[in-house]
């Protein structure tokens, strides 16, 4: 398996991908990725906890023009449109994520989504694993 694009984002344990969230000991707010302070109250007692790997699509778009490179790794010539959205993990946090789907006809707010591994090119010309959410057809919302 490729290396994670950033080891602080997620754990690849027992073949299962889980995002690493940060819970504030003072106010219970969860944020992602884990930072040094709580974005709600500024508290610095942050405990790492795994986030749910299922959620619902909160908003979405399709990136149809090449983002400026750098920082984006693929060059304009290699660019293909990709889906992007926010997925609400109920009771925890709403995370921004790449989506495996970029057909607007197959994306709607409120649809069930599931966390998956997603391969991306790196600056050194290799590939790395990041996270994405994919529509979860088998699951009724």
């Amino acid at each position: 398996m490729d290396n994670p694009v950033d080891p602080t984002l997620m754990d690849l344990a027992d073949g299962r991908l889980r995002l690493r969230g940060g819970r504030c000991a003072a106010c219970d707010e969860i944020h992602f990725p884990v930072g040094t302070a709580c974005p709600r109250c500024g508290g610095d007692d942050i405990r790492v906890e795994p986030l749910a790997d299922e959620g619902v699509l909160w908003s979405w778009t399709v990136q149809r023009f090449p983002p400026p490179s750098p920082p984006y790794v693929p060059s304009a010539a290699e660019f293909t449109p990709f889906g992007l959205g926010y997925v609400e993990l109920p009771g925890q946090v709403i995370v921004e994520s790449l989506l495996t789907e970029c057909d607007p006809a197959r994306l709607h707010i409120g649809m069930p989504m599931r966390l998956v591994e997603f391969s991306v090119p790196t600056e050194s010309g290799e590939t790395a694993v990041t996270f994405a959410f994919t529509p979860w057809e088998g699951h009724a919302s």
Partner: protein, 380 residues
């Protein structure tokens, strides 16, 4: 009502060819001074800023070495509002009698490149294609249209109005009127936003001259009064640009706080506003900001826009100079362009894009990264 605007100067926005951002900034200052009927040596406090155009205070080498205190401000899209606030405080405190406020900028073609490190974001966010501000505008309006049951066609209507107003404004970058169909036929860039629904970074310069309200009529018979200025940063739960996660406990945008603050300070109700310039980085932002500033209720935009209320001859004209969509967005100059436009409208000298009804109160509003807003209320 303690501070007045007695001079306003703005040079054409767009992409500079055969001129420079510094030359245009100096020209805007001279226009504002000429408009006020005073000389640079009469200014005893100056403040201004630019993201990419250089230090405002270095322009003294062209304006004249008068020894004036000149403060540089850089506060993202609120650079103009923050500079204005600083000048108002200086005059109110008695530290200054006649102040200059300046905003100018010049940006390269294409989307803004985000430095993830400077924004406190991991490298992964940029390398995987998520550090793009247009995505935020798309994701915010997509959610907003869904939550408030608004039709996406409002986006084309807002953009068509912007380009119509821009076609009437000699300082606008985009001078060609476009129909809603032209806009619908432009390329989809970040769903639901198309090419002509997103503004471009550009070049521009604007300057204002301020004095104490009680002295304003010595300079001109038609001063415009600054009734309130407020700048606010975000509070918990707001949905901001470049956010890898959002709280499930939603809060409101800094726009809501900045707008509420100016209405309270001025003792003016949103219903009294006769025209407004609101941040329209994209067409969706205008729709959202109409409600976040309190000019209408959430969901009321369909009726407001369909009825023509936001057009130049409507009851609440919005972005009367073509806004960011027709003028582009030079970060440091954009907020003061709005104030310049409101000054012309309140004086009744906006020419071809003068609003039909006589406005008594004008609101201006900016919003930008990393989650801040500035609002200003002006009256005659």
């Amino acid at each position: 009502m303690s501070v007045a605007i007695i001079g306003a100067g703005c040079t054409p926005f767009g992409r500079y060819h055969g001129t420079t951002v510094r030359a245009e900034a100096v020209r805007a200052v001279r226009l504002a001074l000429g408009d006020a009927g005073i000389a640079w040596s009469d200014i005893d406090y100056a403040v201004g800023g630019s993201l990419s155009g250089g230090s405002a205070d270095s322009l003294v080498s062209e304006l004249g070495l008068t020894g004036v205190p000149f403060i540089n401000v850089l506060n993202g899209c609120a650079t103009g509002s923050s500079s204005l606030l600083s000048a108002v405080h200086a005059i109110e405190s008695g530290a200054a009698r006649r102040a200059l406020v300046l905003g100018f900028d010049s940006h390269p073609r294409g989307a803004f490149t985000i430095s993830t490190g400077q924004m406190g974001l991991g490298r992964w966010y940029g390398t995987t294609g998520m550090a793009v501000t247009a995505q935020f505008f798309a994701l915010k309006i997509q959610r907003y249209l869904h939550e408030h049951d608004l039709p996406p066609r409002l986006l084309s209507a807002v953009a068509a109005k912007a380009f119509h107003n821009g076609s009437l404004n000699p300082n606008a970058w985009r001078r060609k009127a476009l129909t809603a169909a032209d806009i619908e036929n432009s390329a989809m860039l970040v769903d639901p936003l198309r090419q002509f629904m997103l503004c471009s970074p550009g070049d521009g310069a604007t300057a204002l001259v301020l004095c104490a309200a009680e002295t304003a009529k010595r300079y001109r018979p038609d001063p415009v009064y600054i009734r309130a200025v407020a700048v606010r940063t975000r509070r918990p739960g707001s949905f901001e640009v470049l956010s890898p996660s959002l709280s499930i406990r939603p809060g409101h945008s800094p726009t809501v706080d900045a707008a509420a603050a100016v209405f309270e300070q001025a003792g003016i109700a949103p219903a009294e506003v006769g025209l407004a310039q609101v941040q329209d980085t994209d067409a969706g932002a205008e729709i959202i900001h109409l409600a976040e500033t309190g000019l209408c209720a959430h969901g009321e935009q369909t009726e407001l826009i369909d009825s023509g209320a936001t057009a130049l001859d409507g009851r609440l004209p919005i972005n009367t100079d073509g806004g960011c969509l027709a003028n582009g967005e030079p970060i440091g100059a954009s907020g003061l362009r709005q104030i310049h436009e409101n000054v012309l409208q309140l004086r009744g000298t906006a020419g071809a894009h003068q609003v039909a009804r006589d406005p008594g109160v004008a609101l201006s509003h900016v919003y930008g990264a990393p989650g801040l807003s500035g609002c200003t209320l002006l009256t005659r």
